[in-house]
Symmetry: C2
Subunit: 345 residues, 2 copies
């Protein structure tokens, strides 16, 4: 019999489950009063760097919402600092990199590092969370993918056009491939360290890769992502490959790797799954803004996602992107309950 | 024989042309030294509101680049001010709306206006540009579409998530439909006034509508856009319907209206055209960031777009979005020449 603790991992392996597992990207975050209370005293980076705080925040949604997995509370950008790319979070504006990398010389100065030393606090958080969870639900680790990490380092923060990143890619392809390869090696090593510390699945966030078309994805991204999945393969933990706006490149994401491919709300789940191939699991794909509207519309949207999954083994319910700060907690709770109570038509 | 002056209009109607017509979104703009010289003395809104300046800027790319159409220099947001939604442009951050509309009461205060009075300066610019062009190339007019305009008014500027806009759409659908209907009526009237003043084609920019999936597009956007195209139909000018990130909703955009449907670079041109249907013309779809890289890669990318169009009547070459400020003028010039010299394989 499937129990609460392994529903998520079984679905990653496309094994039958009692009900569809659910978790939410950014399930620990500003929409929770418990989280905001901690953020009044500590910065985002303080929390990430303090295992007791990161553990507490990781567990907050597990206590309040019927989620089938916990995800390590951390930030995609943590590896940048030990690479020699300092950054901070500017209130209301997201991450700001102090000296964006714009030239081949800038890229050449980037350092590789030992995550077991420089990010030891993340690994310590993983051990503490596993102990606190005591098998209740599995713990997901994660890292940013090379394109997404590179875009922050090169643009200096979030971008709408990725102009500097693409200009460097097109203009200095050898330098791009060296940098993306270095990022891939770092990310692979960091994920392996997370697995050794105890995470039971890993998600690679290539959040902004939907800005590329299939040809550019194949040339500039796919070989590097594949290297990450190859490094993690065979370590007994499922891998999830996530991006947004990827409707046109889902076959390429699948080819790059991942036992589970994430899809966002722009494409119906059944079409996305067909493009990916039914021999992979799928994660998604409700529009997170539906959580801001009325409950009946939210649950109707969730029902449609589940109908499109059609009860096929290998669907993990999630949003198409992270929970937004202004989301009511009760809606997240009701959504998780709805997914668990759903009976296929 | 096709002449320089009607190549663009013939392609809009899917009639044979001597060579593929080309123009560029934001072909007048910061990447041109002539434009920057004017911007040193006048703000963006000053230029939009002064027919002599707007005429001069509209003509700048026509003098320097082999484009087959001019596009009115103006801004999508101009109709907001006479609607009672004042805004300004903040250096480096884009548009900022003083009091974003967040409630049903905010929406109820929005005014309708007579574009022939409130935006008389735009219509005067159109008359002056037509006179100056003297038939050399046709002039395209434009307006923002209801979703895109509403998103600026509701979010207060550019958004990555469209959270407030969608929350209002889902939560107050009746208020949304009233507001979107009011925007559609204003946009339709504004475009008819532009046509009366002399524009020879109109483009509707629904730049951010790719944030919606097909079901939401059908419910919240399609009826309003259709009303605009119906109001403009039969006035003898072709209509272009543009958005970005729309790979999954191209059939819905086509259904909403437009003789020409715009597509961005995320989806290959031939696939996009197939999704739209070959009984419509297509505009696009080179990634504007290719203009920032080396010339050989730029022209190879352009060649691929043209190969995918396959010499079929009804392709207008353009970028998938506007020219970026850091683009070298010589690349834009070389790209237009390349399109004109291209011989199908």
């Amino acid at each position: 019999m499937t129990t609460h603790s392994d529903r998520f991992l079984r679905a990653c392996r496309r094994e039958p489950v009692d009900v569809t597992p659910v978790w939410f990207m950014r399930q620990a975050g500003r929409y929770m009063a418990e989280y905001r209370a901690i953020r009044q005293r500590y910065s985002l980076l303080d929390i990430c760097r303090t295992p007791d705080l990161a553990t507490e925040v990781t567990l907050q949604p597990v206590h309040r919402i019927e989620v089938d997995a916990a995800i390590l509370f951390s930030d995609l950008l943590l590896p940048l600092e030990p690479m020699g790319i300092p950054f901070d979070f500017v209130k209301g504006e997201g991450p700001a990199i102090e000296h964006p990398l714009r030239s081949e010389a800038d890229l050449a100065r980037v350092r590789t590092f030992e995550p077991r030393e420089a990010l030891a606090h993340v690994l310590q958080t993983i051990r503490q969370v596993r102990q606190a969870l005591d098998g209740r639900v599995p713990l997901i680790g994660f890292a940013g993918a090379p394109f997404t990490l590179a875009s922050y380092a090169i643009e200096g923060g979030h971008s709408n056009t990725f102009a500097h990143t693409k200009a460097l890619m097109y203009g200095e392809p050898a330098a791009w491939h060296r940098f993306a390869g270095q990022l891939a090696a770092i990310v692979a090593d960091y994920l392996v360290a997370q697995i050794e510390a105890g995470v039971q699945a890993v998600q690679i966030f290539d959040s902004w890769v939907g800005a590329l078309n299939a040809a550019d994805y194949r040339e500039f991204v796919l070989p590097h992502i594949r290297r990450i999945f190859e490094a993690v393969a065979g370590r007994g933990v499922p891998t999830i490959h996530f991006g947004t706006g990827t409707g046109a490149i889902l076959p390429e994401l699948r080819e790059a790797g991942g036992d589970v491919i994430g899809a966002d709300w722009r494409i119906p789940l059944d079409e996305a799954w067909q493009r990916i191939g039914f021999d992979r699991a799928i994660q998604g794909n409700l529009d997170p803004t539906l959580l801001l509207g009325p409950l009946d519309r939210l649950l109707a949207g969730a029902g449609e996602v589940l109908d499109r999954a059609g009860g096929r083994a290998g669907h993990i319910f999630n949003l198409g992107h992270g929970i937004l700060p202004m989301t009511p907690l009760e809606h997240v709770q009701a959504l998780a309950r709805y997914v668990h109570q759903y009976v296929p038509a």
